[in-house]
């Protein structure tokens, strides 16, 4: 069970069961949709931008525990962040999920997202862990850096 319990850590199961910031926002300024054609999972992320920062953010999804927990944790960590900070976090997360920094410890900055580390042993599930993030940055990714990230894809 060891790899499995590493994948399904308490915190993942908890966010899966009790997703935070779930539902749409009444006054969102934009929303982004993502789906995984492989499995049919769907996510919609809603956010409200004000003076360059994410004032509010929420999501709705039909997906596995990994995608659900990642989306839920994402809304928590990105709330209040500037667009540039948010993009930096996404880049950091991706690097730690994929080959670039795949063997390193998750940095402090990523907070609870460190619970996603177990996904690295399940390459097929990395897409699940980044689905909501892509939904967000696909739409928001106005900056050259953001777009470049998306083009490379996961």
């Amino acid at each position: 069970m060891s790899e499995l319990t590493e994948l399904y850590q308490e915190i993942i199961l908890d966010h899966n069961k009790y997703p935070r910031n779930y539902g749409s926002l009444v006054d969102f300024t934009a929303k982004g949709e993502g789906n995984n054609p492989l499995c049919g999972d769907e996510v919609t992320v809603y956010w409200k931008l004000g003076s360059g920062a994410i004032e509010a953010i929420s999501f709705q999804a039909r997906g596995c525990a990994i995608s659900q927990a990642s989306a839920s944790m994402m809304t928590r960590i990105l709330k209040g962040k500037s667009v540039a900070e948010a993009q930096e976090l996404f880049q950091l997360l991706r690097r730690h999920l994929t080959q670039a920094d795949g063997d390193k410890e998750f940095p402090e900055k990523l907070g609870d997202l460190a619970a996603l580390a177990g996904v690295r042993k399940y390459p097929a599930r990395i897409k699940c862990a980044t689905l909501a993030w892509h939904a967000l940055f696909d739409k928001m990714g106005g900056s050259a850096q953001g777009r470049e990230l998306l083009i490379r894809g996961d």
Partner: protein, 408 residues
């Protein structure tokens, strides 16, 4: 119930079934995705490449003749397997998907026009949807969809109501890969013919489970994939009534499908050659012949009875799990069970089962419209073959109960 098949001995014919996954014996319940291959198939393939490999229909040397004979013998074997009237009615393709595309393009493109209708069902695999959408886009034909009931059977009244003189093709799964439902295809062929429509049956999930007789069914086309019939990937079959095939233009152009090529005009071979451009999967055809021979050595009706018993048993076990919902409760089913488990996404089910050595499929199984119809995005699917056992169904059940606790 007593069965006459010796599963332990059959399992010895399939080397991969003895794989261990993280120290546990593999429980392979993903047979609807692809089946495992018996030694008879693997060694036929190896023997072919060791002793008969050459290109076909082109050389006069010893090996070229051996390879051509082996390939054409495989065609005869398939014809016998489906009870086709003649072996020229058998076309080798890559698989079901290519087979349906062949018919959509060589029959749909030339013979369908504005306002003509193609009847499909809600439970179709994407392979039996998208090729027809291409026909519609190009020719202005329309799709009409036969709905399914809550238990996963076709609504036959709706089918009758949808049939009209506009219906040109009825194309449907003989057995559903997502629900397991075996459709009443013979009666449907009769009704379609009475309206002047032709019928294509997608036999991908049928041929591995029960005998099929295309003359008895009287279908116009029948397609299946070798890899779901205990043979290799990359070789499958289109059966077509000869006169129908004779009236159709080629699918792809190239070598081997022509009589004479000039820059002004090219003439094509008669079927089946007309539809087999380029070097085909010769080894795959030979392996498919071997798989059919292998099945022929078993008592297929006993296998079917055994699978039916296993399905009943597994269905009973799974039904006892709280929060587990089975999709597809048709009275006639092949041995697969699609289900959801309350509070646990199918992907997570599959990942946790994998840690116990149990292989199932999670997702939409290339049947998104069907899943949408039931208001879900994914199911977990355990699909059985005659080499699976009651003990494996018990392991699946035990693991599923553990998952409930983990995610509880």
């Amino acid at each position: 119930m007593t069965t006459t098949i010796d599963v332990a001995s059959i399992r010895r014919d399939f080397p991969i079934l003895h794989t261990r996954v993280g120290g546990r014996p593999l429980v392979y319940l993903d047979n609807a995705a692809t089946t495992q291959k018996p030694v008879a198939v693997l060694s036929a393939l190896e023997k072919h490449y060791k002793e008969s490999n050459a290109n076909i229909h082109r050389g006069v040397h010893y090996l070229a003749e051996r390879a051509t004979d082996a390939y054409e013998l495989a065609r005869k074997t398939v014809a016998g397997f489906l009870n086709a009237a003649r072996s020229e009615e058998i076309i080798f393709v890559r698989g079901t998907t290519e087979g349906i595309n062949l018919i959509a393009q060589s029959y749909g493109f030339p013979f369908l026009g504005e306002g003509d209708e193609i009847l499909l069902t809600t439970m179709e695999h994407h392979a039996n949807i998208v090729p027809w959408q291409l026909v519609c886009e190009r020719n202005g034909a329309k799709l009409r969809i036969i709905p399914v009931t809550d238990s996963g059977e076709l609504d036959m009244e709706a089918f009758t109501a949808l049939l009209s003189e506009r219906t040109k093709i009825v194309s449907l799964a003989h057995a559903s890969n997502a629900l397991g439902t075996v459709n009443p295809v013979k009666a449907m062929v009769d009704k379609a013919h009475a309206c002047g429509a032709i019928v294509l049956l997608d036999g991908a999930q049928a041929v591995g489970h029960f005998p099929v007789d295309v003359q008895d069914l009287d279908c116009d086309f029948y397609v299946f994939s070798g890899h779901k019939l205990f043979s290799t990937t990359g070789a499958g079959v289109v059966y077509g009534k000869y006169d129908r095939l004779q009236s159709m233009p080629p699918f792809q152009g190239g070598g081997d499908m022509i009589n004479k090529v000039t820059f002004e005009k090219t003439t094509y071979k008669r079927p089946p050659g007309r539809f087999e451009a380029g070097t085909p999967n010769i080894g795959g055809a030979v392996a498919l012949g071997a798989a059919i021979e292998y099945l022929g050595g078993l008592d297929r009706l006993a296998l079917l009875e055994y699978e039916h018993d296993l399905l009943q048993y597994a269905t009973g076990l799974l039904s006892e799990i709280e929060g587990l919902k089975i999709y597809g409760r048709a009275s006639e089913k092949v041995s697969l069970i699609s289900f959801t488990l309350e509070g646990v996404h199918p992907h997570d089910i599959a990942t946790v089962l994998d840690a116990d050595g149990i292989a199932i499929r999670a997702g939409h199984h290339c049947t998104q419209p069907l899943h949408r119809h039931y208001g879900i995005s994914a199911t977990a699917r355990a699909s059985f073959a005659y080499y699976n056992t009651r003990e494996e169904a018990e392991k699946l059940t035990a693991s599923l109960k553990k998952i409930k606790l983990l995610f509880g």
